[in-house]
């Protein structure tokens, strides 16, 4: 590579400095943090923050600072490898060339088409990586199957999908985000921008997770400029400790707290009448639904101190503009829809939608959105009719394709387990393509059931940067992925659903052994369905054509700057900028924000929020309360790790955070004879797992917190151990198919448990 005529490369003393934007693999969601990669003789020698990036201004997390330890890890996958089907679970891989790998894959797909039909192929993807953009195309445009799109080995699609879908129904827009001046080159100095007076942070710890496109530490930027914080979280986070109000709720009771906040604001007449009169449908129905949720009633259900609840409601409503952000906790309960309705209603009735310092919303946009839709549409109607749905008629929202186009996760496991084997429409699934996901470690509810259900498939192919427990357990062919430092790409914050910029991901280091998700898609697409891929050449030409088609500018314009900022127009609903017909209002059935939702009613759900007690709690299951006296929540993670990435032994990531931690209150620890650093077994009525005790007041006495997505690359890779993936696995505790009537929302973050000290990880 040379710096010749490339605006993103400079050269100094034989070191090439390549500007790029990060997106996993490895490291992060599409926040696209601006980096300068220092490269000498095609080797990454240093990572430095890009001070000219208007979003991150040179700031970098430990994960990207130690990027070299991923690139040059001896454990990194550097060649395609195959393994005999009868050796699944054994470390018996044979290195092969890319051509051999593609030949094998082609032969297997053609064989399955011929012998069983294309519908017997399904794809699995994860959430948050770059593959989010491309994985949905693998099913239709390579495999010609109806069972691809965004399909996850994941109960209740419990990450982002629920929030994206409910926002689509209620607001007719992409996901809402804090207005952190993210759309502007001049950021907080932008004329017309206002600093939010309060930031409500609900079910989220963004300082350490920087989720979906939100640079978490922008909250610190705003605190320096005067913003005050309200947190709603079962844990005391650092942000919660620095908040003016911390609503420390029992996990899973978010809807009760939400209706309590709404009731205070409505009863005390603190809402924005003008906005509600003009732009809201169903306010009276919402008010009636919240009527019974007095602060005392909320406390009874949720543990939240009435003074904190009332204080937070008043502060949020009476200090315009204020803003709010919601986290994955709102997806990870059975009542995710109701909690999300409350969140959106709070932002709406206070008049904070689409105003300076409030909550940004946009119509969803994606540089490949239209193309992706067209590619999905290339399967025949006969094939589309074979899309896997619940034959008993559950989850109609998924069945008619109103959600994200994939197979509902619980339905998929039931299908794989043969629940409907006697049904006339049933067919056996034969092949799986695992694209950038490690479900046995990270997202699969009851992971051993998923393992059993998938281990007898005819053929499994997977792609990743490292060998994972999932690949070791299940795959016959593995393809090595390139990291973001090794390929061309584009970063699209919030996956296009509130996209403040597009960032160029520039190849800094050439790695001939690996390919990107997009390169594999193109290569295999050309082999399997060449008629769809005639015009496709290189990724760069593809990006250029797609950008021009969608935004009217090309790849050069993106590569010329640290981040191609989108700019933002406030109060779009007044100007006809949110609806395709150009009329004022919102892109919903009524043209208004629907706080009582006709769409939800259509899918068998209540149009207004209500409270449903979690399935596993001391209230709903008093018979289990004595045996399982504690509550658990899950999923918080250390900043040095992203989902199930960064667990490799001997790395900076593991040095910063060597072991999975179960957080226990000091009084509880004393009661159970547990000291900081002891191994602790946590058991729910459904399963158990072990992590190391972290004794601290971050959790109340009745609650523990366990980390997610742990495996141990230093351990025996072979089955049944599989890198110790079952040992510390939070998802052992989680029920299968304890989801809402829409098929969205699963209780990954709330349940009951018991704990005991044990000698080792096991």
């Amino acid at each position: 590579m040379t710096s010749e005529s490339k605006p993103y490369i400079t050269e100094e003393d034989g070191v090439m400095k390549v500007r790029t934007c990060a997106w996993s693999p490895p490291g992060d969601h599409p926040v696209g943090c601006g980096l300068i990669l220092h490269v000498k003789d095609n080797k990454l020698v240093k990572v430095e923050g890009d001070p000219d990036n208007p979003v991150t201004n040179g700031r970098v997390c430990p994960r990207c600072l130690a990027l070299d330890e991923i690139l040059y890890s001896p454990e990194r996958l550097q060649s395609p490898m195959r393994r005999d089907r009868d050796k699944r679970g054994k470390d018996a891989w044979e290195k092969i060339s890319w051509d051999e790998a593609y030949d094998l894959l082609e032969e297997k797909i053609r064989g399955i088409w011929r012998d069983y039909g294309a519908e017997t192929i399904f794809t699995l993807t994860g959430t948050g990586r770059e593959s989010t953009l491309y994985a949905p195309v693998y099913g239709p445009a390579i495999c010609n199957t109806c069972n691809g799109a965004s399909t996850y080995a994941f109960s209740g699609e419990a990450c982002y999908g629920p929030r994206a879908t409910i926002t689509n129904y209620l607001l007719g827009a992409g996901v809402p985000e804090i207005d952190w001046a993210q759309y502007y080159e001049d950021r907080y100095d932008h004329p017309g921008y206002e600093v939010p007076k309060y930031i409500l942070v609900w079910g989220k710890d963004p300082l350490y997770s920087s989720p979906d496109g939100f640079f978490g530490h922008s909250i610190i930027d705003l605190m320096k400029r005067g913003s005050k914080i309200i947190t709603i979280d079962p844990r005391l986070t650092w942000l919660g400790a620095h908040a003016e109000y911390h609503l420390q709720l029992r996990p899973g009771t978010d809807a009760a707290v939400g209706m309590g906040l709404l009731r205070v604001i409505i009863k005390e007449d603190l809402y924005d009448h003008d906005f509600v009169d003009k732009w809201v449908y169903g306010f009276d129905e919402l008010a009636a639904a919240c009527e019974e949720w007095t602060p005392e009633r909320v406390q009874e259900v949720s543990w939240v101190d009435p003074e904190q609840l009332v204080g937070a409601a008043r502060a949020f409503a009476t200090n315009a503009p204020s803003t709010a952000t919601w986290g994955v906790a709102l997806d990870q309960s059975k009542a995710s829809t109701q909690a999300a309705q409350c969140f959106l209603a709070l932002c709406t009735i206070c008049g904070y939608i689409d105003v300076p310092g409030g909550v940004t919303i946009t119509a969803p946009t994606s540089f490949i959105g239209k193309w992706r839709y067209e590619m999905s549409d290339t399967i025949s109607p006969e094939m589309a009719a074979k899309h896997i749905v619940d034959p008993d008629g559950k989850y109609e929202l998924f069945n008619i394709g109103a959600a994200m186009g994939g197979v509902q996760g619980d339905t998929l496991l039931n299908w794989l387990e043969g629940k409907w084997a006697d049904w006339e429409g049933y067919y056996k699934l034969r092949m799986c393509w695992i694209i950038g996901t490690n479900p046995l470690a990270c997202m699969a509810d009851q992971p051993q059931r998923w393992y059993q259900a998938m281990k007898d498939l005819e053929f499994v192919v997977a792609q990743d940067i490292f060998m994972t427990p999932t690949i070791m357990a299940l795959a016959d062919l593995v393809l090595p992925l390139s990291t973001f430092a090794e390929h061309e790409g584009l970063v699209t914050p919030n996956y296009g659903r509130n996209q403040h910029f597009i960032g160029a991901m520039n190849e800094a280091v050439h790695n001939p052994n690996t390919k990107s998700d997009l390169e594999i898609l193109i290569d295999m697409g050309k082999r399997m369905r060449p008629e769809l891929w005639e015009d496709m050449s290189t990724p760069d030409e593809f990006f250029d054509a797609m950008l021009k088609r969608t935004y009217g500018y090309g790849l050069d314009e993106v590569k010329a700057v640290p981040a191609k900022m989108a700019g933002y127009e406030y109060r779009k609903y007044e100007k006809g900028l949110l609806r395709p017909d150009g009329e004022p209002g919102f892109d919903t059935t009524t043209g208004l924000i629907e706080l009582s939702s006709p769409v939800l009613e259509n899918y068998g759900e209540s149009p207004v929020p209500y409270y449903a007690e979690p399935t596993y709690s001391h209230i709903s299951r008093p018979d289990l309360a004595d045996e399982y006296p504690l509550y658990y929540t899950t999923g918080g993670r250390h900043i040095s790790m992203f989902h199930s990435e960064h667990r490799q032994a001997g790395t900076t990531f593991r040095r910063l955070h060597p072991w999975p931690l179960v957080t226990i209150n000091p009084a509880t620890a004393v009661r159970y004879g547990i000291s900081d650093g002891d191994w602790v077994e946590v058991a729910s009525p459904l399963g158990k797992m072990t992590q190391k005790a972290h004794v601290t007041e971050e959790v109340p006495e009745q609650l523990i917190h366990v980390e997610h997505a742990w495996w141990f690359p230093e351990q025996d890779p072979e089955a049944p151990n599989l890198y110790g993936v079952w040992k510390a696995n939070a998802n052992n505790l989680i029920p299968h198919e304890d989801v809402s009537v829409t098929g969205y929302g699963a209780p990954y973050k709330n349940g009951i448990c018991k704990i005991r000290k044990v000698d080792s990880l096991g």
Partner: protein, 110 residues
């Protein structure tokens, strides 16, 4: 003029970016450190939670003399997620401490 490291630790979130920045910039042995984040709390003092992180530079920290000579900020100063580290000439320190609100600000001369 001697320089010092001013830290607005009231807003330090303990992200450890400074630790890794320094390890990588100075190519230190991973068992050593040029700066290390100390945690205090969480504990309720009276009615309010106290939970602080304070990065403390070691004797291996030279305030990134070489980088600063080249006109660049120190590695930790540039990359700190909360932007709470500043390397300043000694005579600027008191004024800057005051500008930062006069609370939970400290400075080190490693």
């Amino acid at each position: 003029m001697k320089h010092a490291m001013l830290i607005n630790y009231g807003l330090c979130t303990g992200c450890q970016t400074c630790e890794v920045s320094c390890l990588k910039e100075k190519r230190l042995d991973p068992e050593e450190w040029g700066i290390k984040v100390q945690q205090i709390g969480p504990k309720k003092l009276g009615d309010a939670w106290e939970w602080d992180y304070v990065p403390v530079p070691s004797r291996l920290c030279d305030l990134c003399e070489e980088r600063r000579a080249a006109g660049k900020p120190a590695a930790c100063e540039l990359q700190c997620l909360a932007k709470v580290i500043e390397i300043l000439p000694l005579d600027r320190i008191p004024q800057r401490m005051e500008e930062l609100g006069g609370s939970k600000v400290t400075c080190f001369m490693p």
